[in-house]
């Protein structure tokens, strides 16, 4: 498949398209030696008919974009039903992740649960234990919010050094969607909570065989947690918890229970497997941090990156990436081309929204030399994304989770890009 370029057009078409072979590396304005047949000849598509309406009742990306898809790392896990794959962030732009390519993480496979069979129980330390149907949920006042969902293990393979060669693999356990849902506070209120709420928790659990469950302080539940049933305007996808998932803004993805079936108000955390054996951060001395829910500020350059080499030669170059913080809004992103010696302030495409992805650009010129590209995010609390070495100095290398260190991409003179670590 070496004939295919990353965007799916073939190399032949690329050359035929008037970009003279020499033009690919020339700095000056390009010129055509011969007229471009794509312009001078009447093309089939300019003469015949395209496909009719309803050809594809629910549209999928055009075939040329087939490589923009989720990918997994087969050697990581024994079985795809207890595994993870990665969003093709290298190939996306803007901030919204299409559902069809948002990363998946399952502990016992993605289950098929009909809306009609959906039940949500709210019980425990409430006045009225209740059961809701899907139709009930649609009768509560609802809200829309854009939030990122990042797995705590995103970049987890990179703790001990550069491992995987692609932004999709190093940073792709994240997606960013617009959720429609009911504030969890409304459901808890419906069931009735009173008395001293400050030391209370909720335990939330999914309907799948993994029975994935997590404890969350009630204060967070009453703050901004959503019981969501739509993403990007349409029903959730099966792999993201259809028909109903929990959205826990700014906090690690494992808490975003899919196929949500039970919410219990408790006076203490359950200490389930997902909050003891997993999602605890082992430090150098062998002790581990628990309840590390917040995802700290982080960013990554998505292009150029190993899967997105520079193919256009010297001259204008758009460096782009994304930044996010579980503490609130992104306020600034800096980019370095020399491995962190000097930094430039990148352009935020739009002011950052709280706990949502923010797109940044550095519109620059490539002189054809080597670069060591880095990005560094800052959020509204003044938090500055640390380097991997800063993180290691505090935590060691044994934590799987919460690696938000600065990523370095080496750009060679050929335009090829590699995941590296620098001093």
């Amino acid at each position: 498949m070496s004939e295919k370029r990353p965007n799916g057009t073939s190399r032949r078409a690329f050359l035929r398209g008037g970009v003279a072979a020499a033009g690919a590396v020339a700095a000056g304005p390009m010129r055509a030696e011969t007229p471009d047949p794509l312009i001078t000849e009447v093309q089939d598509w300019a003469s015949g008919l395209g496909v009719g309406v309803d050809e594809v009742p629910y549209g999928l990306p055009i075939e040329f974009e087939a490589d923009v898809r989720r990918r997994n790392v087969p050697w990581l896990t024994a079985d795809t039903k207890s595994s993870v794959n990665f969003t093709p962030i290298h190939a996306l732009d803007g901030t919204i992740t299409p559902q069809g390519c948002g990363f998946e993480r399952h502990h016992s496979g993605a289950i098929t649960l009909h809306k009609d069979d959906y039940r949500l129980m709210v019980h425990g330390l409430v006045e009225r234990p209740l059961v809701f149907t899907y139709a009930d949920l649609e009768r509560f006042p609802r809200e829309n919010h854009v939030y990122f969902c990042e797995c705590a293990a995103n970049s987890g393979m990179e703790w001990a050094g550069a491992q995987l060669n692609g932004a999709q693999y190093t940073h792709g356990m994240i997606h960013n969607m617009e959720y429609t849902g009911v504030p969890l506070r409304a459901l808890l209120n419906e069931a009735g909570i009173s008395g001293d709420l400050s030391d209370k928790w909720i335990y939330v659990e999914g309907a799948d065989a993994a029975s994935n469950g997590r404890s969350i302080p009630l204060a967070k539940a009453l703050d901004d947690v959503l019981v969501a049933f739509k993403a990007n305007g349409e029903a959730l996808r099966r792999e993201h918890g259809y028909p109903v998932r929990l959205v826990v803004p700014g906090w690690e993805g494992n808490l975003w229970i899919k196929w949500l079936r039970r919410i219990e108000v408790t006076n203490a955390p359950v200490e389930s497997r997902e909050e003891t054996s997993k999602y605890t951060d082992t430090l150098a001395d062998g002790t581990a941090r628990k309840w590390t829910w917040v995802m700290d500020a982080k960013s990554v350059i998505t292009a150029p990156s190993p899967q997105m080499p520079i193919q256009h030669g010297t001259g204008p170059l758009v460096i782009t990436g994304m930044a996010w913080s579980g503490h609130g809004r992104i306020t600034r992103v800096d980019v370095s081309k020399d491995g962190g010696k000097t930094w430039e302030i990148a352009r935020l495409d739009r002011a950052g929204e709280a706990k949502a992805l923010c797109r940044f650009y550095l519109d620059t010129t490539w002189d054809g030399g080597e670069m060591l590209l880095q990005s560094r995010a800052m959020d509204e609390t003044g938090y500055v994304q640390p380097t991997k070495n800063q993180l290691r100095a505090v935590r060691g290398e044994n934590s799987v989770y919460h690696n938000n260190g600065i990523q370095t991409w080496h750009v060679a003179t050929s335009g090829e890009v590699e995941n590296v670590e620098v001093t």
């Binding site: 490589d67 059961v131 029975s211």
Partner: protein, 331 residues
């Protein structure tokens, strides 16, 4: 949208009752219906560190060893050491401050309740919530034993449960990033002359563990190639091809057209041996039925695998198996 009119009627009734009973106060909407005690009992299964939620029952190490061998060892190994990439549940004591700590029930888990709760609700993988409380007590006792936490005479029950302290119970601290990290990293960022020199210390391509891109999957695919990809789920237990060895499952080279249970040196289940004695041959029809739902087809089989629901996928896997069988060479 209820499945039957009766259920719909019940819902309406419940709503009415809730309203009549004053269940909906001024600031509630009166949505949902009261959860019944039986319903709460069916779903509220979690077990807390203090033993809250444990049902009555008991189980000893020896019984647990038997349950484990039958229902867990195919993936977690006879002693909990983990087969291939499947998780280990025993060992690793003293490794938590090593470079690659081995985190298991014995070396890492702070609470026994977590083990009981997780096995009870989520294992065995592919057949969750099928173990009786006694079996869970027994298997938990066996896992404790495999981790040298109890001796082989031990029997676990709801009463002595809280008497067990896990070795790493004190190994956890509550998130202290705010104190240890945030203040340091809130300093104004350096913009120029931030370091004297920069050198590359590690390259991802040196390790070469990144999956190769196969754009081909999007195009119409060769059935065998598709089968080969799907076979990755089988690989954790089976090897195939030249020099393939038995792992937790028998080696599968030449399986299509071969008699069942015929691999030397593999300890088949009684169920499979019986079927083999009855003359079962792994032709394509038999394989298709077996792979749809292995343990429906062969009740009591040791192959703990949920099955492949998609018929096209089964066809592809069988085509791949065939490509490693005598008659497949003629493709």
């Amino acid at each position: 949208m209820s499945k039957s009119p009766e259920v719909g009627l019940l819902q309406v009734l419940w709503l009415g009752l809730a309203l009549a009973a004053g269940g909906a106060s001024a600031d509630t909407l009166g949505l949902g219906r009261p959860a019944l005690a039986e319903e709460i009992a069916a779903w509220d299964l979690d077990v807390r560190p203090d033993g809250t939620g444990l049902p009555p029952g008991s189980g000893d190490v020896l019984t647990g060893e038997g349950v484990f061998a039958e229902k867990c060892a195919a993936c977690h190994g006879d002693f909990g050491e983990g087969v291939g990439n499947w998780p280990e549940v025993a060992g690793g004591q003293g490794t938590l401050d090593n470079k690659d700590p081995v985190k298991t029930v014995g070396s890492y888990w702070p609470y026994l309740s977590t083990l009981w709760d997780y096995v009870h609700r989520s294992m065995p993988y592919g057949a969750a919530q099928t173990l009786s409380p006694d079996d869970v007590y027994a298997v938990a006792a066996y896992i404790l034993y495999s981790n040298d936490i109890v001796d082989e005479e031990f029997s676990l029950n709801a009463t002595n449960f809280t008497g067990i302290t896990m070795p790493n119970a004190d190994g956890f601290v509550v998130d202290d990033r705010a104190a240890r990290e945030y203040d340091v990293w809130r300093a104004a960022p350096c913009m120029a002359e931030c370091k004297d020199s920069v050198t590359i210390t590690m390259r991802a391509t040196a390790l070469d563990v990144t999956p190769r891109d196969d754009v081909a999957t999007a195009a119409p695919v060769d059935l065998i190639a598709k089968g080969q990809r799907l076979f990755s789920t089988c690989k954790s237990c089976h090897e195939i091809g030249e020099g393939a060895k038995n792992r937790s499952g028998p080696m599968l080279t030449g399986i299509v057209g071969r008699a069942a249970g015929a691999v030397d040196g593999f300890r088949y289940s009684k169920a499979l041996k019986t079927a083999a004695g009855g003359g079962l041959i792994w032709n394509e029809t038999a394989l298709d039925a077996f792979l749809t739902q292995p343990r429906d087809y062969l009740n009591g089989s040791k192959m703990v695998f949920a099955g492949i629901t998609n018929p096209e996928d089964r066809k592809a896997v069988i085509a791949y198996l065939k490509s490693h069988s005598a008659q497949g060479d003629t493709r």
